[in-house]
Amino acid sequence: MRVPPARRRRALRKASLGVAGLAGFLTVWQLIPTLGLVNPQYLPYVTDVLARLAEQLVDLAFWRRLGSTMTSWAIGLTVATTAAVVLGTIVGLVPLLRRATHTTVEFLRPIPSVALIPLAVLMFGIQQRAALVIIVYASFWQVFVQVIYGVADVDVVARDTARSFGLPRRRQLSHLVLPTALPYLMTGLRLAAAVALILAITAEMVIGNPGLGRMIELSRSAGDATGLYALVVVTGLLGLVVNLVFRFIERRVLSWHQSVRGEEVW
């Protein structure tokens, strides 16, 4: 397919401006310690940090730590999503349950998940399981709330129509509820994925179970500023990748969903 030259020019402009922005940021970072505005012991040169980053990328131990962080992330996200979808669908479908759980949810949801870290440590010690408690708690709400909204969003007319045609409950669920709730679910999943990553790393920092977070805390206490900054960059890249992947999945699932809406696929 040929892209019109004007649009290509605009895309090129956008990309080059974006690269310029990143380059500008790195330059400013490099200049701050160079000009002596901040002691390089506290803000190392960007060149050093990038060099350290490159070293890490060929270090097997680094990948092992990254692996444990991502394992916690994946397990926590899966458990939270499964629980949230099941409970959210049930609560969302039954108006009585929705009313009855409202205050409880409104109280439990704002409890900052990190407040549970001490409890998790007490119960499970310095283990991955303690981290999982936090990850699951935090990401559960993201999906749960979205699923409830999504299930409750089913068009009244469509639902009445389905009932009047005597569609059995199971079919109603798959034809009506699932398509309506899917966009909400995907949004919840994307938010939960980001939250789960944040909590996985945070838990490692505070609890001390192995992973990137623990490494960050160790570099800090060892006074290894360069290593610390390199790890911060790593977590940023990781967050970016998680965001992009889930946004991509969301777009993929939803475009497919819209193109097949109303067909006998479910």
């Binding site: 690269v19 704002p110 407040a115 790393i201 920092m205 960050i216 977590t235």
Partner: protein
Amino acid sequence: MTGYPGRVAFPPRRRRLGFRIAASLRHALGLPMLLLVAWGLVATRATSQFFPDPLAISQAFVDTWVGPAFVEDVLPSLYRLGLGVAASIVLGVAAGTVIGLAHWLRELLEPLLEFLRAIPPPVLIPVAMLLLGITDTMKVVVVVSGAVWPILLNTIEGVRATDSVMTETATSFRVTWWERLRFLVLPAASPRIMAGVRQALSVALILMVISEMFASSSGLGYRIAYFQRNYLIAEMWSGILLLGLVGVLLAVAFGLVERRVLRWYHGIREVNRA
């Protein structure tokens, strides 16, 4: 927001007021009561050391937090939180408006912002400790470094999505730059901005707690971690309870402010739904 046909329609009142209040109270308090009773039963039967019964927790709550601890631990925490949130709002809305209005600036900063906001905010705590030491400023900076992103990005989106006809209207009536900001751009973006503030509040609370667990000698986060390390289980639970209360109060206060600020927005939605 294209056209709002129809008028507000109120559903007919079906039952008497007393009945409805009783019913909604039952719904609001039924499950929490049930859960509390269940907890109490399990806690007394199973004698698990990690789950003291609700009465012990409420006793610990009064003993721990009513008195000097409120001034020493709770107020400083709330102060840092409030300062951090306020700074995030000012910074996020100001920068977001500028970036949202200038096309080239948005393209320049987009990848950078995308990266910066993807950094899990708690990893900035060690960085802030390195740069600022263990100070109050450090904690406020940490709160801002996490809470500013939802506000900033939502403001950019909101400002960008200002309706083209409204913009043309303002142009055709030669509304000044400042008036345009005050009466068009900011109000038009306000639903998005408020959504950003709502997210920012919960992020800010989390960061306040972690930064205190990490590096502090006062504050709610510090206190809860201290109780845990000293096996003061009921006290620890009372701290978790207090944090939950702070979270709920923040959400309620935000809801009140939001309803006032976005009265027009909710009004339109109500009219559209009717």
